[in-house]
């Protein structure tokens, strides 16, 4: 019976072409479909615990690229076909767009009410993680003095030592990664340093490429000396001794992965259970162990409260998705970078 259902669940999910990976947790009778941008390896402990707590569930977890997930959720919302039961993505501007287009299901509980306003919108979208955008560097390639503690140091380094850094500074390709775009957009709002950064990147032929894991890997190997605006959680999870992490001291963007329950979700009850579980202290501990929740206390990170720039879940993020704005940012970006990603 279980096998049959499992087979059915697989059939039901196979038409979703664009997912990168699929895993299942639990072996209950009740199907639940989660779509997320989070790497399975990182989220696995939390979902395993959730499956243990809810043995009646058969959880199918699909890992997607953020833009593909957005397009798919959008069409699922409009046509009502193949909706997920829960969607959570690091490209929170896309999630805000979905909720703004009435694709979300409204829910409120003590756990969700305890979230700060910046991590909750309309009771339809919730921020479940705390992840800073960091600069990572190769410990062997850079001496301690050369390590840029903030953007100004990075700018100086790019200006004073272009030969060392040429072709060895990387960041996300914003066209391929919704998260990379979000960070670039966040930086673009800090107008003063953003212009100089782009200029600096252009001067040293910086590389824009895809995917956190890939970037971090290349930093560990020493191909890249510095990677800018990498999601801290992936670095912590990779656990590579040769890779150093810096929370930029001028300001550090902090992202909270957004969780929503699609309006057409088949199993809203399971999605609600998962949401309340993810916000519970136990799950937050597990997420912290996976690096998805970073403690940002001043004593640990040296980051002043004013330097922590939470990206709030708010309709203002819709600006990030505006096509004219995107076009402008892309143009700036493409002029500055060597694009590695296949388009």
């Amino acid at each position: 019976m279980i096998r049959l259902l499992l087979g059915l669940a697989l059939i039901a999910t196979t038409p979703a072409r664009a997912q990168e990976d699929v895993t299942q947790f639990g072996n209950g009778a009740e199907a639940m479909l989660i779509r997320s941008t989070t790497d399975i390896a990182i989220i696995q402990p939390v979902l395993e615990r959730f499956a243990t707590l809810n043995p009646n569930l058969l959880i199918t977890y699909e890992q997607w690229g953020s833009n593909a997930l957005f397009q798919h959720s959008k069409s699922a919302c409009k046509t009502g076909e193949a909706p997920a039961d829960a969607v959570f993505s690091s490209a929170i501007q896309q999630m805000v767009w979905l909720v703004n287009s009435a694709c979300g299901y409204r829910y409120s509980s003590l756990e969700t009410q305890a979230l700060p306003p910046a991590r909750r919108w309309r009771d339809e979208l919730w921020g479940i993680t705390t992840e800073p955008a960091v600069i990572v560097y190769n410990k062997d390639g850079l001496t301690n003095e050369d390590v840029p503690r903030d953007r100004f140091a990075l700018l100086d380094a790019m200006r004073t030592r272009p030969d060392l850094l040429r072709g060895r500074v990387a960041t996300y390709d914003i066209a391929a990664s919704g998260l990379g775009y979000l960070f670039a957009y966040g930086d673009s709002l800090e107008a003063t340093t953003f212009g100089s950064l782009i200029e600096g990147f252009a001067r040293i032929d910086a590389v824009a490429t895809c995917c956190s894991a890939h970037i971090i890997d290349e930093v560990a190997k020493g191909r890249f000396l510095i990677a800018y605006n990498v999601l801290g959680s992936y670095v912590a999870n990779a656990n590579l001794p040769g890779v150093g992490v810096i929370l930029p001291e001028d300001y550090t963007l902090v992202l909270s992965r957004a969780y929503m329950i699609p309006r057409q979700a088949q199993n809203k009850q399971a999605a609600i259970l998962l949401l309340d579980f993810l916000l519970s202290p136990e799950a937050q501990e597990l997420l912290a162990a996976s690096g998805l929740v970073t403690r940002l206390d001043e004593s640990e990170t040296g980051l002043t409260p004013s330097a922590r720039r939470f990206i709030p879940l708010s309709p203002a993020l819709l600006v990030a998705l505006d096509q004219n704005r995107r076009a402008g940012l892309f143009k700036l970006w493409n002029d500055a970078f060597n694009i590695e990603t296949a388009r």
Binding site: A102, R122, D322, N324, R325
Partner: protein
């Protein structure tokens, strides 16, 4: 006739009226607050909408012959003042290309409008009611000229919650005030009605035969009026009961002797074989019967007078007419045939407020006494002197002894001089009548004769109906 069913208790009536007023007033005020709150919320958030739309319109520029929007974050931060509301925006050339917007597939059509000013309208945004503003900007560049239209919309949650909070803020104190008013009106009603309760307690606890006046000290004016009326009524009842009691006692007392005498005379007449003795007895029997008749007349007359004193309305009475009527009835010719009775009245009316019948009965008694005890000629007259109206009877005798005069007016005052025909009731009627209309009985004797008079306060001239 459908009659409104009112609760029986005054407190309940007052309270239900107060509640009705409060509820109606509350509803009216709540309605007006709601309307005002809605208006205020709409204006406040319409300004945000317009601000955002103008911001976006400002950011439109022409680049390579096409309009381009450099979407300002500030516009969206403005809209995020309504933190939980969904947003819509679109920038387009009317009827032409879509420049940018939230979603190319979600089209909101503005109503047709003339004029360049901002235009607000309502429409549904993804099945939720929302309010929109349309702002246009005109370009006249070398490579682009025409109109660019900016549409910005927002769902209504923040407006509704602002309206609700405005209403809550205004209604809460109102509700508290309403409750306070209710409590206060309950207390006030209770304290206002407390004398009434005391009164009804007093009445409930009262002996049904107790007709003494109820104390009215410290009572509100409205109740004093009622209580005064009630006390007057009880007083009258008391006097009437007294009168009845007296009448019955008097009648019993007075009738016993004559009836016994009549029986004795009748037995004598029956038993006595001697014809002349029987005739004498029959004569006495006749005399006794006649005086019994007079007695009954007087008893009835007195009862009548006393009854009327309490119950008959007081009307202006001309004492001259009273005197004239007494004379014209010619009763005196029956009582004392041959005695001359003269009338002495003036030109002007002599008016008093009183009851003509009672005064007339009193005057008749005075006349009867004069005829019976005085010396002819007897004169009856009415005059007005110093705001007093006087009806008098005068004879030429010396009047009663001072001792007897002192006791005049007591009931059944029968002394040695009292004849068989006299009942002793006459002057009692006179005295009662005089006192009933605030007057007095005057008896004056001088060398020319004796005068008995009823002296009343005069009624104002022209008071005659």
């Amino acid at each position: 006739m459908a009659r409104l069913h009112l609760p029986h208790s005054l407190t309940a009536r007052v309270l239900s009226a107060v509640i009705l007023i409060l509820v109606l007033g509350g509803l009216l005020v709540a309605l007006s607050i709601w309307v005002n709150g809605r208006l205020a919320a709409r204006e406040a958030y319409d300004r945000l909408l317009l601000g955002a739309a103008s911001d976006i319109a400002e950011s439109v520029r022409i680049q390579d012959g096409a309009p381009v929007v450099d979407l300002p974050v500030s516009a969206f931060q403005l809209l995020a003042q309504a933190p939980d509301d969904r947003i819509y925006y679109a920038v387009q050339v009317p009827g032409g290309p879509f420049i940018t917007g939230l979603d190319r597939e979600t089209m909101i059509l503005p109503p047709d409008s003339i004029g360049a000013g901002p235009r607000y309208f309502a429409a549904d945004l993804n099945d939720e009611p929302a309010r929109f503003v349309r702002v246009t900007r005109l370009f006249a560049e070398r490579d682009f000229s025409g109109e660019v239209e900016v549409l910005v919309g927002q769902t209504l949650q923040a407006r509704q919650s602002m309206t609700a909070s405005l209403m809550r803020d205004a209604l809460l104190p109102m509700a508290v005030a309403g409750i306070l008013l209710l409590i206060m009106s309950w207390i006030v009603t209770r304290s206002a009605l407390r004398p009434l309760e005391a009164l009804s307690d007093d009445l409930t606890g009262r002996d049904p035969y107790d007709l003494t006046p109820m104390p009215s000290d410290g009572l509100p004016r409205e109740l004093q009026v009622m209580l005064g009326a009630m006390n007057r009524f009880m007083g009258r009842l008391d006097r009437q009961v007294d009168t009845m009691r007296n009448l019955i006692a008097d009648t019993a007392h007075q009738l016993r002797t004559p009836v016994a005498a009549i029986r004795v005379q009748a037995e004598i007449a029956q038993d006595d074989p001697d014809a002349p003795a029987r005739k004498r007895a029959l004569d006495r029997l006749l005399g006794r019967t006649r005086s019994l008749g007079t007695l009954l007349d007087q008893l009835l007359s007195r009862a009548m007078v006393i009854h009327r004193i309490d119950s008959a309305p007081r009307l202006p009475v001309d004492l001259r007419e009273v005197a004239l009527e007494i004379l014209e009835e010619r009763d005196h010719e029956l009582i004392a045939p041959g005695i001359e009775v003269r009338l002495e009245i003036g030109e002007d009316p002599v008016l008093v407020q009183g009851d003509a019948f009672s005064i007339s009965e009193a005057a008749k008694n005075l006349l009867r006494n004069a005829l019976r005890h005085g010396q002819p000629p007897v004169i009856i007259g009415a005059e007005r002197a110093n705001n007093r109206a006087i009806l008098w009877v005068r004879d030429c005798g010396s009047g009663p002894d001072a001792n007897i005069a002192k006791q005049l007016g007591d009931r059944f005052n029968r002394t040695a001089g009292t004849g068989e025909d006299s009942t002793g009731l006459g002057l009692s009627i006179v005295k009662s009548t005089a006192e009933a209309f605030d007057g007095k009985v005057e008896m004056t004797a001088d060398t020319t004769g004796f005068r008995a008079a009823l002296n009343f306060p005069a009624a104002p001239e022209g008071g005659r109906a």
